[in-house]
């Protein structure tokens, strides 16, 4: 509220004869816009710095010799502005600019992807001449050229407004495209060898020559969206539809925990493109390429459309009717429940409503707390940390990030793991006073772009740094300082304990930033072995009583012992102690030990998989039940802020939500025999009530806030760093934003903009191994090896090697069987026959 009440200096000016009061420093074009006077413009964008590049917004200002660009002119006291509506001079100037812009603009509109939603087309119709006086030959360029595998540049159409270059420089920090050449040859281009007379292929395709730098930014799609003409277009949407074919639905991105609002455009039952939505509180008007283009998995031919049941005779999966499959699942789970119990792996891709359905299903139908959403390396300490400091808390917002004086980031690489958070951090740094301190092994490009100070940290040492490093404490001492921790800190013993203690000690606010869209919601929905919905501790009888009241069951019906986490469920299943597994969208390759996870799926007596597409889980499942992808259901994601991001169905299909499928399974299951009401109520069927998203929202909405005590934060002591011998190093690893993620499978065009996988080593280690940039380096463990080109990286501590977690040629979990902080062997060159063979078997 202080912002609103703050007194601002104002000036009074006249626009088109109307007196108006505006904030000092405001631009004339914005003030006019607020009054409802539309001045045509191309280069002007409210989130970019003023440029005055296109000259379309010329207005007549009294006392000025020539018309002035209203997008760069700030208001002044007593200024008299006349727009094209009241001034002949302004109208003539704008008409002249439009004529010049069109002089070299090709008559491409019928084939141009922008046709029908093109600001140039629209404004040429409203403000332009009816006929052309230009009879000469128009300027020609080769068209279009690929400036990345995803983005196409047509220089003929470009009007040099520089929105794209300004976005790339100011917002994303990836200055891959720029203005080149001069005069009538001035053009937007990428840094290409052949353009500068080098040894390029000369065919105009960037990335072919040795020194070519393609437009591989994670945010390149935004330039396509803000291009006011059809100069930048996307390969994926190329010629697919016209604006009038499309039905637009506001939705939310399902990829990461940033929670971007989006617009999904579909035609004839198929989503054709997605655009960044306008939500100033979250993603402003931007999104990342993964969110924009990573939706092909929904239409993949591998989608499971009918339930599958493992045939008793052949042992193969076969298609079955819903009634048969539901019955098989219910009977199998009932039997497994009595035979060792069933573990639930919920995964991080669920909406809040679906996660709640899993949490309720585990407690009521399976009678267990063996449920965990974490499909990644994890620890028991993390579960305690989440219960103590994350569940039900929404303390830090994007606005806080932007306005914070300083932020310490640990266990998180914002550009790779939460793109929009990265953009906000960068905005805070460039436009406000944010100072970022990174607790990381090296200064990544993302950290570099936000001017972060690095505290070089060997993976596993974060706990000590957070607890002891004076620089961290000093950075957090300013009021409003933020401590942002990522999910990767879970694998460092004591790190999350140290983070919570540090926040308490310094008064800094703490935010936990997970990677997947459903992670945060799953905590609050109760998909943890130690938490019931609403952040209620399982061990607290009062909390259980609140839930049993809400679920209309007897107190004592809910299992009271904290359950097993993902690792323990997998270990128990692999040891044959579990009767069954219920698995949602989980890829075993993401777990700490993929091989053990697959053994667990094999050894578990009965596996039910709720999936979109065939996966390592469905291949081993006894019953596979297809569920709806995000576009075909409504739901809510909780982003890392703890902000609800509800979305509606984009495509109306017959696909069912996880909650609806679980409700149908539960309805066919017996009440557990240890249930107090089992004796009086021998009838079949458990009422879950999760079939309808609105019903779940009502149920969650009417649940009173918990009065149970919040558990205290864990206090785990840091572990000593492992010793590294000669030719050994500590492994650092995290995911690239665009990698071999299940949701990006088969998206070759998008994969083309991924960062090349490299093994990063420090200069000392490189010298010891005798490698330079580009030489092959092999990182090995007893299980297998990964060979990647080396990149000698500044700041990287001496005995550390970094690998991308799940990129082509570098699947750390599957090939090495270890996680960050483990000691790995290093050698120059390719793996020997011994290691190579073990990689094949892995």
């Amino acid at each position: 509220m202080t912002d609103v009440a703050k007194k601002v200096d104002t000036v009074t000016l006249t626009i088109d004869g109307i007196e108006v009061t505006a904030e000092k420093g405001e631009l004339v074009i914005r003030v006019a816009e607020r009054m409802g006077i539309a001045i045509p413009r191309f280069c002007d964008h409210p989130l970019l710095a003023p440029a005055g590049a296109c000259r379309q917004c010329l207005v007549d200002i009294e006392g000025q010799r020539k018309p002035v660009a209203s997008c760069t002119q700030t208001v002044a006291e007593g200024m008299v502005v006349k727009t094209q509506l009241t001034s002949e001079v302004a109208a003539k100037a704008q008409g002249g600019v439009m004529e010049l812009l069109l002089a070299n603009h090709p008559l491409d509109c019928p084939t141009c992807d922008k046709g029908g939603e093109c600001p140039l087309q629209n404004q040429a119709m409203t403000n332009g001449r009816a006929d052309s006086r230009f009879k000469e030959h128009k300027r020609e360029y080769e068209k279009p050229i690929h400036i990345s595998s995803q983005v196409l540049l047509d220089r003929e159409r470009c009007i040099l407004c520089q929105r794209c270059t300004r976005f790339s420089e100011e917002i994303a920090g990836d200055k891959f495209i720029d203005l080149m050449d001069r005069s009538s040859g001035e053009q937007i281009n990428v840094y290409r060898d052949d353009f500068f007379g080098g040894r390029g292929t000369g065919d105009g395709q960037a990335g072919e020559g040795e020194g070519d730098v393609p437009f591989n930014s994670y945010f390149s799609g935004n330039t396509i969206q803000i291009c006011p003409v059809g100069a930048l277009t996307g390969e994926q949407y190329r010629f697919r539809a016209r604006p009038f074919d499309l039905v637009s639905t506001p939705t939310t991105c399902e990829h990461c925990a940033s929670g971007c609002s989006m617009r999904a455009d579909h035609r004839r039952g198929k989503v054709l493109r997605r655009l960044a939505g306008d939500d100033p509180a979250v993603n402003e008007e931007w999104n990342c390429d993964k969110g924009r283009w990573g939706f092909q998995y929904q239409t993949s031919s591998e989608r499971i459309l009918n339930p599958l049941v493992r045939d008793a005779d052949s042992g193969e999966l076969r298609e079955a009717s819903w009634s048969e499959a539901l019955l098989a699942a219910a009977e199998g789970l009932t039997a497994a429940r009595g035979n060792g119990g069933v573990g639930v792996l919920a995964g991080g891709r669920l909406t809040v409503e679906d996660a709640y359905a899993y949490a309720k299903f585990a407690r009521l139908a399976l009678g267990t707390n063996d449920i965990d959403f974490r499909a990644r390396p994890l620890s028991a300490e993390e579960a305690d940390f989440l219960a103590a400091t994350v569940a039900g808390v929404s303390d830090v917002t994007y606005t806080d990030v932007e306005n914070a004086p300083s932020a310490v980031i640990a266990g998180l690489e914002p550009e790779e793991e939460s793109g929009i958070l990265f953009l906000r951090l960068r905005k805070g740094h460039l436009r406000k006073k944010l100072q970022v301190t990174a607790v990381a092994p090296y200064l990544t490009r993302g950290f570099d772009k936000m001017g972060a100070a690095l505290i070089p940290t060997v993976p596993g040492d974060e706990a000590r740094v957070l607890a002891e490093d004076p620089a961290v404490a000093a950075a957090l001492s300013a009021p409003g300082a933020l401590l942002l921790v990522g999910e990767r800190l879970a694998t460092v013993p004591g790190a999350l304990s140290a983070a919570a203690a540090l926040a308490a000690r310094t008064g800094a606010r703490l935010a936990w930033v997970p990677r997947r869209a459903g992670d945060r919601g799953a905590i609050d929905a109760g998909c943890l072995p130690n938490l019931l919905p609403g952040g209620r501790p399982v061990g607290d009888p009062a909390a259980r009583a609140e839930i049993s009241l809400a679920w209309d069951t007897d107190a004592g019906a809910l299992p009271s012992r904290p359950g097993r986490d993902t690792n323990q469920i997998v270990a128990a299943a692999a040891a044959g102690q579990l009767g069954g597994l219920l698995v949602a969208g989980v890829d075993p390759a993401d777990l700490a030990d993929p091989r053990l996870a697959e053994q667990a799926l094999d050894a578990a007596g009965f596996v039910v998989s709720l999936e979109l597409r065939h996966s390592a889980v469905t291949r081993r499942a006894n019953v596979v039940l297809p569920v709806a992808p995000a576009a075909e259901k409504s739901g809510t994601y909780l982003n890392w802020e703890g902000r609800l991001r509800s979305f509606d169905t984009v495509l109306k299909t017959t696909a069912m939500t996880d909650g609806r499928v679980l409700e149908a399974v539960a309805a066919l299951m017996d009440v557990p025999s240890n249930h107090p009401t089992a004796a009086q109520n021998p009838t079949k069927g458990i009422l879950l009530g999760t079939g309808d998203v609105m019903a779940i929202r009502r149920e969650l909405g009417t649940m009173p806030p918990s009065r149970a005590d919040r558990p205290v934060a864990p206090a785990v002591a840091p572990a000593a760093l492992p010793a590294t011998g000669e030719h050994e190093a500590v492994l650092a690893t995290w995911h690239h934003a665009i990698d071999q993620s299940t949701l990006l499978e088969g998206d070759d065009v998008l994969a083309g903009t991924a960062r090349p996988p490299v093994a990063r080593i420090g200069s000392e280690l490189a010298a010891a191994l005798g490698v330079i940039d580009g030489d092959a380096v092999t990182v090995g463990t007893d299980r297998g090896a990964i060979t990647l080109p080396a990149e000698v990286t500044r700041d990287l501590p001496a005995r550390v090697v970094w690998l991308p977690t799940n990129s082509p040629g570098s699947t750390v979990g599957r090939s090495l069987g270890v996680t960050a902080g483990a000691v790995v062997r290093l050698s120059a060159g390719k793996a020997g026959p011994l290691l190579a063979s073990s990689e094949v078997t892995a």
């Binding site: 019928p110 046709g115 068209k143 010629f239 539809a241 016209r242």
Partner: protein
């Protein structure tokens, strides 16, 4: 008036018609030829080398008041070229259960690809057959034409095709006419059919 003379007067009208020219058409044995600009079924024309004139721009679909046209654009490549320029119609359908033959689509067509023939025999016994695709709509290959995909033969760029199209009307000559227009049969409206287009 007596009954007798009254009958004569009535039959007289009938009798007089026996000497007038018959306006009944002997369809389907001698089908009438419609006026030259009659709005019949559509044709997707070709350039003289056989490439399609249609660029898949969907302006016809946009103009269509009956929502009868469905187009999906696709990308021409050097290996697979169906039309000059970057874009061609991957899918082109006209649903004759919906078409009202208003001709707004041909007015909208920027490449003069879509024109209308004089063919009116469009009755089908099921709805599916009323959806005409590129297979039915594309003009037949005339001598000297080559079945796409093939490279551009008339010039290096698409502009050579579009500029040349002013002198070279392509294959709409002939193809616009229904098969019977070349028949000798002529009737009251037939005298103009030879000078059409």
């Amino acid at each position: 008036m007596g009954t007798f003379t009254g009958s004569f007067k009535g039959f007289g009208v009938t009798f007089a018609h026996m000497f007038r020219k018959v306006i009944t058409t002997d369809y389907p044995f001698t089908p009438p030829t419609p006026a030259p600009r009659y709005h019949g079924r559509h044709i997707l024309n070709r350039h003289p080398d056989g490439l399609e004139k249609c660029i898949g721009c969907e302006l016809c679909a946009w103009a269509c008041p009956a929502d009868a046209i469905y187009v999906e654009g696709a990308n021409n490549t050097d290996e697979q070229r169906f039309s000059p320029g970057e874009r061609y119609a991957g899918i082109y359908q006209i649903n004759y259960a919906r078409c009202i033959f208003c001709g707004l689509c041909i007015e909208a067509c920027p490449t003069r690809s879509l024109t209308m023939s004089n063919e009116y025999e469009l009755a089908r016994d099921n709805r599916q057959d009323l959806i005409f695709t590129k297979k039915e709509l594309l003009a037949p290959l005339l001598p000297g034409m080559e079945q796409p995909p093939h490279p551009m033969r008339l010039g290096d760029t698409d502009k050579d095709y579009y500029v040349g199209a002013l002198e070279n009307p392509g294959t709409s000559v002939g193809a616009e006419r229904a098969p019977w227009a070349t028949n000798e049969a002529e009737d009251a409206t037939g005298q103009a059919s030879k000078e059409a287009v």
